[in-house]
Symmetry: C2
Subunit: 237 residues, 2 copies
């Protein structure tokens, strides 16, 4: 946790917060903090700043907080991700938040096992928990917008063309395609689709193309989903 992320419910006054949950445990066990210590704080969806520990006990901590610094800008990207297996989903949500993705769409695909849609990690509270861990890692306060699309065809036919309009639309796909572009300006919007383990099937690549997304490749090595997300984003921006 490189940033202590505060929510509305933590505030007892404009400049005072009380912590009782895993963040209190973290102060004790990882920061090994003492009363008087200062640490970086951020207000969810708001500014970042400093917190000074006024009281630190086994049940709760009280901090005085000030906010003066904007969070880092988001990457102007909508990431369409074929739903990964549950364990990979958790880590990938963290990574997506850490890297500053603005919008994430978790999408069905032929090669997504039906059972993956049953995982409790898709509950809104569970998704939010992983995103917050990712923000705390990166030092950011703004959650990515996440939506869930369990039906590939209606999403890609009916809604994706408008989403991808006036963006650079890309599908990460191995094969004889142009290399993924590099070093885009930070204000260039992108819509990027990343497939499941085993990749998109040809029908899906065709439908994504029709919606305005062009296949690009990242070399002959096959990457895990989380690694592919990081590699594609690091190359694009």
């Amino acid at each position: 946790m490189n940033l202590l992320l505060l929510e509305e419910a933590d505030f007892i006054a404009a400049d005072r917060v009380i912590l009782r949950d895993r963040r209190l445990v973290h102060l004790h066990e990882v920061h090994r903090a003492d009363e008087g210590d200062s640490l970086r704080v951020g207000r969810l969806a708001g500014l970042m700043g400093k917190g000074r520990i006024l009281r630190l006990g086994p049940q709760e901590a009280e901090l005085q907080v000030t906010f003066d610094q904007p969070p880092p800008p988001k990457l102007p990207i909508t990431l369409l991700l074929a739903l990964p297996r549950p364990k990979m989903l958790k880590r990938t949500l963290q990574t997506v938040a850490t890297l500053g993705v603005a919008r994430l769409v978790l999408l069905n695909s032929y090669r997504v096992e039906k059972s993956f849609w049953q995982t409790p990690f898709l509950e809104p509270a569970a998704i939010r928990e992983q995103l917050i861990l990712g923000l705390e890692q990166a030092r950011d306060t703004v959650l990515p917008e996440v939506s869930i699309e369990k039906r590939f065809k209606p999403f890609v036919e009916d809604r994706l063309p408008a989403l991808a309009d006036r963006t650079l639309g890309l599908v990460g796909h191995p094969g004889d395609f142009p290399a993924c572009p590099r070093g885009l300006p930070l204000d260039q919007p992108v819509t990027l689709a990343i497939g499941p383990e085993g990749g998109w099937i040809p029908y899906e690549v065709d439908k994504l193309r029709e919606a305005g997304l062009q296949p690009v490749q990242l070399g002959e090595r096959i990457l895990r989903v989380e690694t592919a997300v990081t590699a594609l984003l690091a190359r694009l921006y």
Copy 2:
């Protein structure tokens, strides 16, 4: 496992192998393979090709194998990595192998907790196991060379200057430094140092500079080690 990686001990003839270990389990449980099926195989440190399943039983499988394809080229990079915490070490070793790093040096740093050096995951067999998982993911057959340097100063003073000679030497470090270079030619050798959680201390950055490595940054977001490795490599090549 996108490639069934075969070792010398698996061969009963030039074109025949017997499998009994986790790879047999994988054939049954993940590939749900049948006799007659073909799948991609690779010979550790050698060529890749096809394997046809001649016999598949609960105790062993016999495959007929042919090899005709070279593995993908390695990235000409020596990665110096401050030893990550054990759980992160395992995943990072896989990622390093998947991405095609040629040489990895696990290095001490002021912010590496002493206890990390006690982990059984640093045993040669344990390192090899994770590297092989990474090669199987990427479809590669060539293990990265891994060395372990428990003393920062003698390594950086006495051996790093020769290692880094005639390479582009870089230290990933947050701060007011030039951005990490992008899109190097695939034959440009690089020596890249990536710090521990919390980063290198200034003394270490100075010593790495003296050895020929220049600090570069990757933006204001703080990345986990595994994510930083992937992001830096994807940007460099």
